[in-house]
Amino acid sequence: MSKKGFTILELLISLVLVSIVLLLLLRVMMSLEVINHDTTYASDDEIARTELIQNIESDFLENHLNGLQITQNEDQINFSFLMDQEKELVVEKEQITYDGEVYALKSSNASYDLCITYQYQELENDYYLVTFTIPVLIDGVNTTKMDDLQFTYLGLKNEYTHYPSSFSC
């Protein structure tokens, strides 16, 4: 008797093999889903974040930060950095402007939180530590990446040193 297609056994074996392959694919897709969550916050913004932190920290080191002033309006926060050459950092919900250069957020689901954290601490041997963080709010995504903008400065006190001891939003 001639065969005209698959037998039930052949079909079953094929289905089992295809199922195994699909299960493996499913595992790959689940891994990619995790990555997709992390990349929802646009990579352009990651690059801008790195560039901004690098520019500001380089200025702190090269121009010797001696102090800063923080003022808050309804829709923006202004930092005035007292260095050899004074520079301004303006934080708004959608963008940050530093020394005249604008860093606008490209992710539609991200914004800067105007409730910053700031701390000034005195250390031994006349050193002091200044830290401030500009939080980045990202809707609906839990990223493992570092999104917030954290700034640090370790300095030696002198007659011109002038920092607010605390700041609350």
């Binding site: 052949e10 094929s14 694919l25 920290e57 041997n125 050193y127 570092m146 700034f151 400065y153």
Partner: protein, 149 residues
Amino acid sequence: MKKGFALLETIIVITFVSVSLLLLYGTFTSLVQNSKRNILYDDVSHIYQLYYFKEYLEMVGLNEMSTKEIRLLSCDDFSTSSCSTLTEEFGITQFYLVPMGNRGEQENDAMYSYLSTLPHDQDYDYWLVGEFLEEDTYHFASIGVMHDE
């Protein structure tokens, strides 16, 4: 006369497709791993924090330390209470002095996985490696240290 596929033919094709998909899976897995690595290693703010931490520790004897093995440091190794203030403020949970070129042997450990990515920088004698805890996730960063003879 047969008009459909034989079982053998079907199995050969499925095996071929499976091998191809498994190769793809391997490629994707390594991409996923690399992406996770990029997220957790050498964040710019951690590098600056570690730079300031190193600057401060150098004033209290970091450059005089020497080791041939990877050495887990603690603030008790330095005669300053500000060390603890800095680790707390920066979120540094552990910090190590790693001789240049020493990558350790415990491959499954997160820190040793990080060490395997560090280049050999001839300008420095050691890496100061910091482990940072950020929202239940460990991140790593490093900075070069010169040894004073």
